[in-house]
Symmetry: C2
Subunit: 215 residues, 2 copies
C-alpha cells in the first residue's frame, strides 16, 4: 500500500466560478469559453479539466456561485406573508441581476444550488402560512418560479423602456391600436415597477381563496 500523495490542488470551485464570472461580466456569455476562463486563471485550457468534467459543469459552478449568495433566511415574521414572498423573490432576482448575462443559464442549472433548496423551503413555508397545501401549493410555487425566471429573462433580453418597445410604438399605426398605445405607455415603466407589479398580481391571485364571484 503506497502512500505518495502528490502535488495538492491549487484551485477551489469558488475560485473557478469567480474567474468564470469575471469573464462573463467582461465579455458576455459569448466570451464564456473554456480557454478564456483558463486564461483568466493563468492556466492552459486543458488544466481546467482537472477540476471540471466539461463545459456543462463549469456553467453549473457559475450558476451555483451566483445563487449561493442568496440570503435564504426567512424575512421579518411581522410582515404579511405576501410581503415576505416578495422579499424572497426579490432576493433571487437581485442575485441574477448582479450578473445579467447568466440569465439563460439559470433555468438550466438552478437545481444544483443548495441555496435554491433553502430558498424554496423558505418560500414553501410562506405559502403554507398563506393557507396553501397540497397541489395548490405546488402550483403556486411553480407559478412563482415561472414568473420569476421568465421575467428575469425578458428583462435581460430587452427592458420595457428599451428600443424594442420604441419600435412597436411607431411601427404599429392603425392596424394595432392597443399595441401602439401600450408601447408608448410602456416606455415610462421602470424594470422594478414592472417586475413588482406583475408579481403583485400573482400574489393577489394567491391571496383570494377560490370561491364563486359575488353578483
Amino acid at each position: 500500500m503506497s502512500s505518495a500523495m502528490p502535488r495538492p490542488r491549487s484551485l477551489t470551485p469558488d475560485r473557478i466560478a469567480s474567474a468564470a464570472l469575471t469573464v462573463i461580466d467582461r465579455d458576455g456569455l459569448a466570451g464564456f469559453t473554456m480557454r478564456a476562463v483558463a486564461t483568466e486563471l493563468s492556466m492552459s485550457a486543458m488544466a481546467l479539466y482537472r477540476y471540471v468534467d466539461d463545459r456543462g459543469e463549469l456553467e453549473r459552478l457559475v450558476v451555483e456561485g451566483v445563487l449561493d449568495r442568496i440570503d435564504t433566511d426567512p424575512p421579518d415574521p411581522e410582515l404579511p406573508w405576501a410581503d415576505r414572498v416578495t422579499i424572497m423573490v426579490g432576493r433571487m432576482r437581485a442575485a441574477v441581476a448582479a450578473h445579467p448575462a447568466i440569465a439563460s443559464l439559470v433555468p438550466v442549472h438552478r437545481h444544483r444550488s443548495r441555496a435554491v433548496l433553502r430558498w424554496t423551503e423558505t418560500v414553501l413555508g410562506l405559502l403554507t402560512e398563506a393557507g396553501l397545501t397540497g397541489q395548490r401549493r405546488v402550483v403556486a410555487l411553480r407559478g412563482l418560479l415561472s414568473y420569476l425566471l421568465g421575467a428575469i429573462q425578458l428583462e435581460h433580453l430587452g427592458p420595457l423602456a428599451g428600443p424594442g418597445t420604441a419600435v412597436l410604438a411607431e411601427l404599429a399605426p392603425e392596424a394595432f391600436p392597443y399595441l401602439a398605445d401600450t408601447a408608448r405607455t410602456a416606455r415610462h415603466i421602470s424594470p422594478d415597477a414592472e417586475f413588482d407589479g406583475g408579481l403583485a398580481l400573482f400574489l393577489r391571485g394567491l391571496a383570494d381563496p377560490p370561491r364563486p364571484r359575488p353578483g
Copy 2:
C-alpha cells in the same frame, strides 16, 4: 440600362424554416446547424447564405415559422374575458409545445413574428375589456408573457412529474420538510394542470381591482 435577370430563387423562407424544424425535431437544438439544415435542403452549407445573413436569422425564421401558425382571432365573445385570455395564452403555449426544443429560442426572437403582434393586440383588447388601462395594462401583459415564457421553458427543461422532482422527494429528508412533501405531491400533477393552475392564479389577481382588504 441592362435587364438580364438571372436564375430565380429556388427556396422560400417557409421552406427553409420547415427544413430547419425537421432537423430540430429530429436531432434537437444541438443538431441545429447550418450544415445540417443545408443538407436537409439538399444544398451545400454555403448555399444557405444566399437566403440568410447568418445563423441568427435562420433561428429567427424558425421561431417565426412556429409562431406564425398561432390562431390570433379573438375567441368567442360570449365567454368571460379570463377564459378568453386563457385560450389565447394556451394557443401560444401549444404552438411552442409542438416543437419543444425551440423553447429557449422563443424569448430571443419572438418580436419578429407578425403573428405575435396580432396575438398581443388581441390579448390587450381582452385586458382592456377586463378594465385595465395605462400602466396597469402594460404590467398585466408583460406579467402574462413572463409567466408564459418561463413556464414553457421550465416545462421543457423538466416536467414537474419528472426525475428532477423525484430526486427532491428523496434527497430532502428532515432538513427540508416542506420541499420533500411538496415534491411528493408534485409527481401527480400533469403539465397542463400545472400550467393552467398558475395562469388562473395570475388571472384571479387581474380580476380583483386593487382595494383595501376587508377585515
